[in-house]
Every structure is written in C-alpha cells, then in structure tokens.
C-alpha cells in the first residue's frame, strides 16, 4: 500500500526546474516593482504607476500552466502579470522610461504594458476594461478551433462594474474557455470591499452565472495553482468559464498619490508577515526543491536582471517627436 502524497499541489504537480523558475519570476516581479518605484522617485519615470508588491503569488501561480498561445488580459496593476506571462524586464523598463525599445514604443507606459507575442493582450487603464475583451479572445479560440484559454485578471473594484456582469454572463452562455481571476486585495483605491461589495466573497457571484467559483488564499502559491489547474482543465475541455478569487494584499498604496489614510499600519504589517515569496521559498526548501544557497542564487539572478533591465532602458533612445501620430492607424 502506498502512502498518499500529502505534499502541496505545486510541489507534486510541477517539475523542480519549473518551480525554481516560478520563484525566480516572483523575485523578479518584486525587484522590478522596487526598481520602478526607485526610478520614479529619481525622476526617471513620469506619470504614475500601480505596484503589485505583495501579490506575486497570484500573478505567477495563475500563469503557471499557460503557454504563449494562451492569452491574458491584465489590469492597471499589471506589471506582475506581464512578467509572469513571459515578458522581458528590460523592454518593460524601457516602456516605463518612455523609450522606443519599450514594448509599446513609449506610447503606452505602465498602464498599457503588453507583450502580445507572449499572449499578454495588455494592461488596462479602465477598471473592468479587459473583462469583455477576454471573453472575445476566448470566443476567437473557440471559433478558430484552438485549445487556447484566456485568463482575465481583474481586481475587486472591477467586480462592481457593469462590464463584469455582461462579460461573465456571455462567457457562461457561450461556454467559452476563459478563467476570470479576481485579485481581491481588499480595496478599490481607498474603498474597501466591505463598503463596496454586497457579497463577502466575490467568488460567490459565480453562482449568478452558473459557473464554478472558488476563493483561495492568493498568497499561497499552491492554492492558486491548484484552483487554476482545475479551471484551465475545465476550459480546455470545452466546459466553460470559471471564477477564481485570490485573496491578497498590496503592500504599497493604490498609486503614487496614495497616502494610506484608509488603512492602518497594523493591517499592512500583518499582511507583510504573509509574504507570498517568503512562503513559497520556504515551501520549496522544505520539500527539497532548493536549498538556502539555491534560493539565494535565484534571488540574486532577479536583482541582476532588474539592474540590466534598467540599464537597457536608460541607454535606449526615445521615440522621435515627429512620430507622435504613428500607430494611430495601420501603416499601409
């Protein structure tokens, strides 16, 4: 008689190399966000940005089983999704620095960061903007006879937009291969879900669209990965959409203008003890995927990548002023 395998789902399901890569990308997201914040403070990046520090497990574990053919739609807090889906941090920094070498040739910036070649259809400056677009991408896959799935990232704020209702309803009516991933970090800017949302769990709203809905600890890599594994399998089997709610927290403010007047220091510090990267790292070490030295090496690689990325962005050229209207329409 064999003993049941009680190890966490991710440890059982993914190859050690894939798990190491996942940890690397989570570090990369964290260091990227810090690098972007630092560059902003030093005046190298203008405008604003929305950092996802604290939400790395949600981004990475959600994307674990996706290929470049699978699509994602992202949000204004989308840097982590972009990295998790496979983008290079050098071209991301270049975009934030407004350079021609950036993913959007300096036209989009943080809020429109995208990498179409790895299936990222773009961050979105409009809350809920990506919800119907993701359903459209899933419709394409179904009509074109592909097995690709689309993951639609959105926040707790977007679940109160009309687009949420319309998109989830259509996805369910047409049984489309889309997974709606709500990153519930507790606040739509300053307004808490308790003050804005009639249900306790956003996943409860799945019942209104006759689709499965599950709420998981979004800072637990394995919990997110398992929920996604189930939802992706359902989507690829043609059984339709699912809603996955990842409970998480953003350590930083909503954007650069946030003075954190709507939440307490205790609350922030409490969530910082639930650091998704530290938890995943400890899990990998506990199950023998990595040792301390190996984990340190992974963390160091992320730092080196971010430094190289910032250097690439700084040394890149800016778009030509004469090309301000380029890319409005297709070039013939």
């Amino acid at each position: 008689m064999t003993l049941p395998d009680n190890r966490p789902f991710a440890i059982r399901h993914f190859a050690p190399a894939a798990l190491r890569e996942a940890l690397k990308k989570m570090y990369l997201i964290r260091r990227f966000e810090e690098g972007a914040e630092d560059s902003y403070m030093r005046g190298l990046i203008h405008g604003t940005m929305h950092l996802s520090i604290g939400q790395e497990a949600s981004a990475m574990a959600t994307c674990m089983e996706l290929t470049d053919n699978d699509k994602i739609t992202s949000t204004h807090r989308g840097h982590g999704h972009c990295i998790a889906k496979g983008a290079e941090v050098g071209r991301m920094f270049a975009e934030f620095f407004g350079k021609e070498t950036g993913y959007c040739h300096g036209r989009g910036g943080s809020m429109h960061i995208a990498d179409v070649k790895t299936g990222n259809l773009g961050a979105n400056g409009i809350v809920g903007g990506g919800l119907p677009i993701a359903v459209g991408a899933a419709l394409s896959a179904k009509r074109l006879g592909k097995s690709d799935v689309t993951v639609c990232f959105f926040g707790d704020g977007a679940n109160n937009e009309g687009a949420f209702h319309e998109a989830l309803n259509m996805a369910a009516v047409w049984k489309l291969p889309v997974i709606f991933v709500c990153e519930n970090n507790g606040y739509g800017m300053s307004t808490s879900t308790a003050r804005s949302t009639a249900v306790t769990h956003i996943a409860d709203r799945a019942a209104a669209y006759a689709m499965p809905g599950v709420t998981v600890d979004g800072n637990d890599f394995s919990a997110v990965a398992f929920a996604m594994h189930t939802a992706i399998a359902r989507a690829r089997a043609g059984e339709g959409p699912s809603l996955v709610e990842n409970l998480t927290y953003r350590w930083r403010g909503h954007s650069k203008s946030d003075r954190n007047r709507y939440r307490s220091k205790d609350e922030i510090e409490d969530w910082m003890t639930r650091d998704p990267i530290a938890r995943f790292r400890a899990e990998l070490i506990a199950h023998g995927i990595l040792d301390e030295a190996g984990a340190e090496a992974v963390a160091a690689e992320a730092i080196a990548d971010v430094q190289a990325g910032i250097e690439f962005a700084r040394s890149s050229t800016a778009p030509s002023i004469s090309e301000v209207t380029r890319y409005v329409y297709a070039e013939v």
Partner: protein, 336 residues
C-alpha cells in the same frame, strides 16, 4: 431613353446591399462573424441580417444578450485575436452604452500597444430620425466618433456605397463605424455584383454646379440633390458633394469645390452645434479656399433639442428639402 443606358442594371435596396456584402465576406473569409441583438432568426430590428443565420448558422450569426458594452467588448477582443466581427448595434443610440469599449479600447489599442495590435472590428449603427421613435432611438451621433483618433467613421448614402463601404471596412485593419440611415434601408439603387471596395475617406461629387457647394452625407445627400434640382429651375446651380466619410474627412474634394463655387453650405442631421458642419467650416476657414468665399459659410443641422415624437416637430427638427432649398437660396442671393 438614353441608348447607352445598360438594361441589366442590378437593383437592390440599401438593406439588401448591406446583407449581400456580409454574405460575400462570410463566404470568402471564415473569420468573419456577425454579432448583435436579435440578428439571428428575428433578422435584425431592421431586417438587415434577415436570413443570414440560415446560410451561415448560429455560430457565425450570433445573437448576443442585451449587453451593448459587453457585446462590443467581446467583438473588440475577438478582433484582437484573429476574428473579423461585424457588430450590429440595434440603434446607433445604444452605442452610448458601449462608449468605453469603442473609444477607450478599440480606438486606442493599436496606439497604446505601439502598433503591436490590430482591432479589425466593424460596428454597424442604424441611425437617424423620421421613424417616430423619439429621443432615444433617432439620434445622429456620428460626429462624436469623428473626434476619436483610431476610428474610421463612414456614412453611406446609396445601396452601392453601403455594400462597398462594408466590404472596405472589413478589409481595413482598424475599427470602422458605419452609420446606416434607417430611412434609407428600403431605398433601391444600382448595386454591382460581386466584391468591390468603396474607398474610405473619399467624398464624391454627386452633382456639379457653380453657385454653391452643398456638402451632405447619408439621407441628407438625397434631400440636397432634390433641393438642387428645384434650385436649378430658378437658375441657381448647386454643386452637391456626398461626404461619405467623416473620419478621415476628404479635405481636397471639398476645398476644390469651394474654390470653384465660392459658397459653402454643410447639411447634416446631427445637432448643429459642435457637429460635422463645424469641422468642415473650420477646415475651409483655415485653408486657402477661404479667400474664394463670396459669402459666410452656412451650417444647416439638427435642432438644439432631443428628437421629438410629434411627427411635425420631428420633421422640423432636422433639415428637409424645403429648408435646404430656402437656405441655399438665401446664401446665393446674399440674404444671410
């Protein structure tokens, strides 16, 4: 009868011409799909899609829920990923429910993504007054979209153009909005067989004249042509230009005509203020054609009110043949 006149001219209605264009495109390209409210077995509110569901099936002629924002967004997402959706708004007024997806997403995605994405979606929008449907089903809001870089905005006036513009829109890699006038759906006219593209962004001289240029699109073209015919009887020679495309707008055709006639009148159904007439007037005022003007530019547009229900009020709220005729007469005789 002119001995040269062909005896085999195909005649279709404007609605039939649009339907023929959709069928040609769907036969030729399996990625073309239709989406909209009640476009399946119902055939569309104006019977434009009619029996296309029988020919192409419900997977390609998709009835959407009553979800304009979501439906338009699904069309945008599908266009972004390999399909060519033609999305029918039941009434152009309902596009207001989908402004987010049209203006913030479809129009801007190519630019925001630095040319790395394309959104080849076509929006069809039944527009205009004259049906007794009052304020929320009768508007002419095409000028709103003329303000949005990234969109193309067309306004076919004839069955031939309705077909050719739809095929051109489908061949275009960017989002195109086609405003179809509800009163034109039953209008018959010559429509060539097979596939042809009406160039996007080209106005068309429909009647040559020497005393005044009348720029009009959609149903206003027909009213302007009728007015021009009446004016000719009293010795006023009006040149009538079919605007056809609001974005991009054909500067050259309009300016060349104004240089010739020295007078300009812009006729449109949308509310007069901040409309198509303002853009065209300003374009002329900013150009060398301004020096050729013998009279102030005249705009004839919709009343500064929602479209009313009462038929007499409704008729009075938008330019008609008699008001166009009177305005042109005043302009040419310097009574303005």
């Amino acid at each position: 009868m002119n001995a040269q006149a062909p005896t085999d001219l195909r005649t279709l209605s404007y609605a039939e011409a649009i339907r023929e264009a959709m069928a040609i495109a769907m036969e030729a390209d399996p990625t073309v799909i239709l989406m909209g409210e009640d476009i399946g077995v119902y055939g569309g509110a104006f019977q434009v899609t009619l029996d296309l569901i029988d020919r192409f099936g419900p997977d390609r002629v998709m009835d959407t829920p009553i979800s304009e924002l979501g439906g338009a967004g699904v069309a945008v997402g599908a266009a972004l990923t390999g399909l060519k959706p033609i999305f029918e708004f039941q009434f152009s007024d309902f596009a207001m429910l989908a402004m987010e997806q049209i203006v913030n997403q479809a129009a801007k995605l190519r630019y925001m993504l630095g040319g790395e994405a394309s959104v080849p979606v076509v929006f069809r929008l039944p527009a205009g007054s004259g049906t007794g449907a009052a304020a929320q089903h009768s508007q002419s809001i095409e000028a709103w979209f003329g303000h949005v870089p990234g969109l193309k905005v067309l306004q076919p006036a004839t069955p031939e153009d309705a077909k050719g513009m739809l095929l051109a829109a489908l061949a275009d890699p960017d989002p195109v909005m086609i405003f179809e006038h509800k009163l034109l759906y039953k209008m018959k006219g010559h429509v060539p067989a097979g596939s042809y593209l009406t160039p996007i962004g080209k106005a068309l001289l429909r009647r040559a004249g020497t005393d005044v240029t009348i720029v009009a699109g959609s149903i206003m073209l027909h009213r302007a042509l009728e007015a021009a015919e009446k004016l000719a009887a009293e010795g006023i020679s009006a040149e009538v230009i079919d605007l056809r495309s609001i974005r991009p707008i054909d500067h050259e055709t309009i300016l060349a005509s104004v240089r010739k006639t020295g007078r300009l009148m812009v006729v449109y159904e949308g509310v007069k203020a901040f409309g198509v007439g303002a853009e065209i007037s300003a374009m002329v005022a900013e150009s060398d054609a301004f020096d050729y003007l013998d009279a102030p530019i005249l705009r004839l547009g919709g009343a500064d009110a929602p479209v009313p229900y009462n038929p007499d009020l409704e008729r009075a709220s938008v330019p008609q043949v008699d008001t166009i005729e009177a305005a042109a007469r005043r302009l040419v005789r310097r009574e303005v």
